[in-house]
């Protein structure tokens, strides 16, 4: 097009791109150091291999995804990241075409042999294949399993040959050209948009992975705003602003849910070139007291208040205590996208099944459990009641939904009496056929788990139901649950994406042995769930299906839902623009720091 001037024009464009990169790097001030603590050690920074919350938090700042979330919008809203725009989705919801931005570069690394390395569509093909590669035993392999045309066959071939062929074409995973990625799914699936925004589905460079094949965990090289500068495993992680990052301008609209807070954030941040923070220092502090005192001594800039220290910082009505407020410390309070619940095993001969007396037994147990006491006392008021098995902030949550399984011990006792669970001479109820009735609840040995056990014991005593606690390691309980051998088990689910589907799939019959640990297999529920998967995420019909699923689950007595946990984040006054995102974790990408006082 530019004829003999083409090389000149290309050079100009390249220079312009470099200038933009330089501007982004210049925005991050090395003197702005953000210090936080992780309560548990990270495992590493290979996105395909790690599944823990804290490793993913670091990865989120290092690697880019195709899509991400708007920082302020609630419920969380998907927006493009390295995709130029939202993908083109075929009418049947099976083909997703992403057009990548040009001029996005990986951070410099010796693996690139001194050359600038641009992000291209093939990087995503390679990165996604890595997740499916059995040799990587990725905890996220489920995202692609049975989902992408041709990928399962490639995985099967890799299992047979012992090596995944990254050079073989896969029909459903194609780099159409340098900047166009096409993903063809095996079925209509509107949830893939969320998957494309998931931290794990980020781009890595094949050269880097192959150069550090023996320790990919220690060499994260991405196109994101930060690079790993220093890592003392299990002790300290230091990130620095990526000098080659393309940058972006902070420009987000306030949400309706947290309007006051958002306006303050906007006043601090609007129009700033990002990232602003030059260095992030993360310390691993296992103990609550250490984190609490370190924050008080200003060794940390923000702190998620540990449950054991709630009373020292937060009043029962959720306000900051005066001595902290006097130090100009601020409190950000919001609920995590999680649900805490107890499952019933539907294949258990005592408590499982779909006959009226079994449903009555489970519903009586649910109605007899003092869930309010759990939220007020065991959780120290840091859990909110939710009527459905979906937390607020998630697509599909309806604040007007009314539960049918409220705490009501009188009704629970009456229900048990009505269905023949009679009390024997010893005061304990038996099964309708007179056989002993003992509930086995799987739990662990931590302090909070012992508190739960006491609460369950007192609750079941009120009903005349004998309950015993089986204490074992989490892995053992998980193994037993997947085999449908646990009678009851307390669990929590943190959302992978902000959609009710991510919670309802835990109750979908065919997921038994995978994520459906209660082995609940209700044809009615499954029919509703399957119908929801064929509808676009914003469909009103889909929202109604979620309400019907919640109702069906409660009618069958599949879960006892305790609530959704609250997060109390304390901030020193020099922290600017803080807001906890329900899915994104690396908040410092969107923040700034004023000079410490």
């Amino acid at each position: 097009m530019f004829g003999r001037f083409a090389p000149l024009v290309r050079g100009f464009v390249a220079s312009l791109a470099l200038c933009v990169a330089c501007a982004a790097a210049a925005a991050a001030d090395p003197a702005k150091v953000y210090r936080i603590a992780f309560p548990t050690a990270e495992t590493g920074f290979d996105p395909a291999k790690v599944s823990d919350l804290y490793s993913n938090e670091v990865n989120e700042a290092i690697f880019d995804r195709l899509l991400t979330y708007d920082w302020l919008a609630r419920p969380a809203k998907i927006v493009p990241m390295v995709a130029e725009s939202m993908p083109e989705v075929s009418a049947d919801g099976k083909v997703y075409t992403f057009h990548l931005r040009k001029g996005v570069y990986f951070a410099d690394d010796p693996a690139f042999k001194g050359k600038k390395r641009e992000l291209v569509a093939q990087d995503f093909v390679y990165s996604f294949e890595r997740i499916a590669d059995p040799a990587n035993r990725s905890p996220w392999a489920f995202i692609f399993e049975g989902r992408v045309v041709g990928l399962d066959e490639a995985v099967a071939a890799a299992k047979k040959s012992g090596r995944f062929d990254y050079d073989a074409p896969i029909a459903g995973l194609t780099a159409v050209d340098r900047y166009t990625l096409r993903i063809t799914l095996t079925r209509t699936d509107y949830m893939f948009l969320y998957a494309a925004a998931h931290t794990t589905l980020c781009a890595v460079a094949r050269e880097v992975i192959e150069a550090y094949a023996n320790d990919t965990m220690a060499h994260p090289v991405g196109t994101g705003p930060y690079v790993l500068k220093e890592w003392v495993r299990g002790s300290r992680i230091v990130l620095e602003a990526n000098p080659g990052f393309r940058g972006f301008t902070w420009d987000f609209a306030p949400s309706t849910q947290d309007a006051d807070w958002d306006h303050k954030v906007i006043a601090d941040m609007k129009g700033k070139a990002m990232p602003q923070i030059g260095r992030v220092e993360i310390s691993i502090m296992d103990e609550d007291q250490s984190r609490w005192l370190a924050f008080q001594q200003q060794q940390l800039d923000t702190l998620n208040v540990p449950l054991g220290f709630i009373a020292k910082g937060i009043s029962p009505d959720g306000k900051l205590l005066p001595d902290l407020a006097a130090k100009k410390i601020e409190l950000f309070r919001g609920n995590d996208l999680d649900v805490t619940y107890s499952t019933f095993n539907f294949k258990d001969p005592v408590i499982g099944g779909y006959t009226p007396e079994k449903i009555a037994l489970r519903r009586a147990i649910i109605m007899g459990y003092r869930d309010d006491e759990e939220r007020r006392i065991v959780r120290k008021g840091q859990m909110r009641y939710i009527a459905m098995p979906v937390p607020p902030g998630v697509v599909g949550y309806d604040p007007n939904y009314v539960a049918v399984d409220h705490y009501d011990p009188v009704l629970a006792n009456a229900l048990l009496d009505h269905f023949g669970y009679r009390k024997g001479a010893d005061g304990w109820r038996t099964l309708p056929d007179g056989k002993p009735l003992v509930i086995h609840y799987a739990t662990g040995s931590s302090a909070i788990e012992r508190e739960f056990s006491e609460l369950w014991k007192r609750s079941m005593d009120d009903l005349g139901l004998r309950i015993e606690f089986d204490i074992a390691k989490f892995a053992d309980h998980l193994k037993a649950a997947k085999a449908c051998h646990l009678m009851m088990w307390g669990a929590a689910w943190i959302a992978d994406w902000p959609d009710a589907d991510n919670f309802m799939q835990l109750l979908y019959g065919p997921n038994t042995g995978q994520s459906n640990n209660g082995c609940y297999q209700s044809p009615a529920f499954d029919k509703l769930y399957e119908a929801s998967t064929h509808l676009p995420t914003d469909s009103t019909e889909r929202m109604k299906l979620f309400l019907d699923m919640a109702r069906q689950m409660q009618v069958d007595g599949a879960w006892q839902v305790s609530g959704s946990r609250l997060r109390n984040q304390l901030l020193w006054p020099w922290v600017l623009g803080y807001k906890k995102h329900p899915i994104l974790q690396a908040e410092w990408v969107y923040m700034d720091m004023a000079p410490r006082s």
């Binding site: 035993r137 250490s290 060794q299 994520s515």
Partner: protein, 312 residues
């Protein structure tokens, strides 16, 4: 002497084999199946089987045991199942922080406890002796957790004499700045029992005829206590100190957790939480070997301290 040492080294083999069997069967019995955790939030049986195959836990027990024995013989325990970090790197990087705390702690504890034991034994039965023993008994009754919480709160947070937690890159910075309070806590916990024990050893000697004879010959009290009494009391003291040496290698896990010290103790807890068997078995075997070696050294030191001791 050489024959004795060789015989003792030979005797270590069945002991080590016992440790290997114990660790192996305990882990397989109560350790939990790591594949279920490593498989992530949503996994099917095929993925779990794939992980079990890669970890080798699908092999028959005798094969797994054979691999374990080979690892012990070669000293190559492979890599952590959860982080992929090599075991040799874990030991190399975590041992230093643990030793930075435990070595000064053991040296100071031993010196202070011996000095105080000699002093209170010298004034045995006096008010001072009784008061020191009462303080020791009270000190013994308090859990290390209480010492850590109170000392961290008072000395680090309220008084600001020490950092609340942390660890750096420089040895001297770590020793002086970050390890001081952990060492102080360690001393508060360990001096009381050691003082009581060492006092008993000294009292056993102080009433012996050779002490009376030395006094009758006009030998000074300092020389009697520090040379004659201490030398004769040193065999049980050496036994006690040598028994503590393997503990240096595993650190003080509670102190390491509270003060964010990246030591071995913390790593062991993490490994147990994650069912990370390669880390658990490597550290267990190293500690077992260290215990046996230090026991042998203790026996050799008896001979050096007291020529009357015969090594058979």
């Amino acid at each position: 002497m050489t024959a004795y040492i060789l015989r003792r080294l030979w005797q270590m083999i069945p002991t080590l084999l016992g440790v290997i069997l114990l660790v192996f069967f305990l882990f397989n019995w109560v350790g939990g199946d790591p594949a279920y955790v490593l498989a992530g939030k949503i996994s099917n049986q095929e993925q779990i089987d794939n992980i079990r195959r890669q970890l080798g836990v699908d092999q028959p027990y005798y094969v797994q045991l054979g691999i374990f024995i080979k690892q012990v013989l070669t000293g190559n325990f492979g890599a952590s199942w959860s982080t992929n970090e090599t075991i040799s790197h874990i030991l190399a990087t975590r041992l230093g922080p643990s030793l930075t705390v435990t070595v000064p702690l053991l040296i100071l504890d031993t010196l202070i406890a011996i000095g105080l034991a000699l002093a209170v034994a010298y004034v045995r039965g006096s008010l001072t002796d009784r008061m020191v023993m009462i303080v020791c008994t009270v000190g013994l009754s308090v859990s290390i957790l209480v010492y850590i919480i109170v000392f961290q709160y008072v000395f680090a947070y309220k008084l600001g004499w020490f950092p609340v937690q942390g660890w750096g890159d420089s040895f001297w910075q770590n020793l002086v700045k970050y390890a001081s309070l952990p060492i102080l806590i360690g001393l508060a916990v360990s001096i009381a029992p050691d003082l009581r024990l060492f006092r008993t050893f000294v009292l056993d000697e102080i009433n012996q005829d050779y002490v009376r004879t030395a006094r009758a010959k006009g030998v000074g009290e300092n020389r009697i206590m520090w040379v004659h009494v201490l030398r004769n009391a040193s065999i049980p003291i050496i036994t006690n100190v040598m028994a503590q040496l393997p503990g240096l290698l595993v650190g003080v896990f509670l102190i390491e957790r509270f003060f964010s010290i990246p030591g071995i103790g913390r790593e062991v807890i993490l490994a147990v939480e994650r069912s990370d068997f390669p880390v658990i078995k490597a550290i267990t075997v190293y500690v077992a070997v260290a215990t046996m070696v230090f026991n042998l050294l203790a026996d050799l030191m008896y001979k050096a301290v007291d020529p009357r001791v015969q090594l058979k």
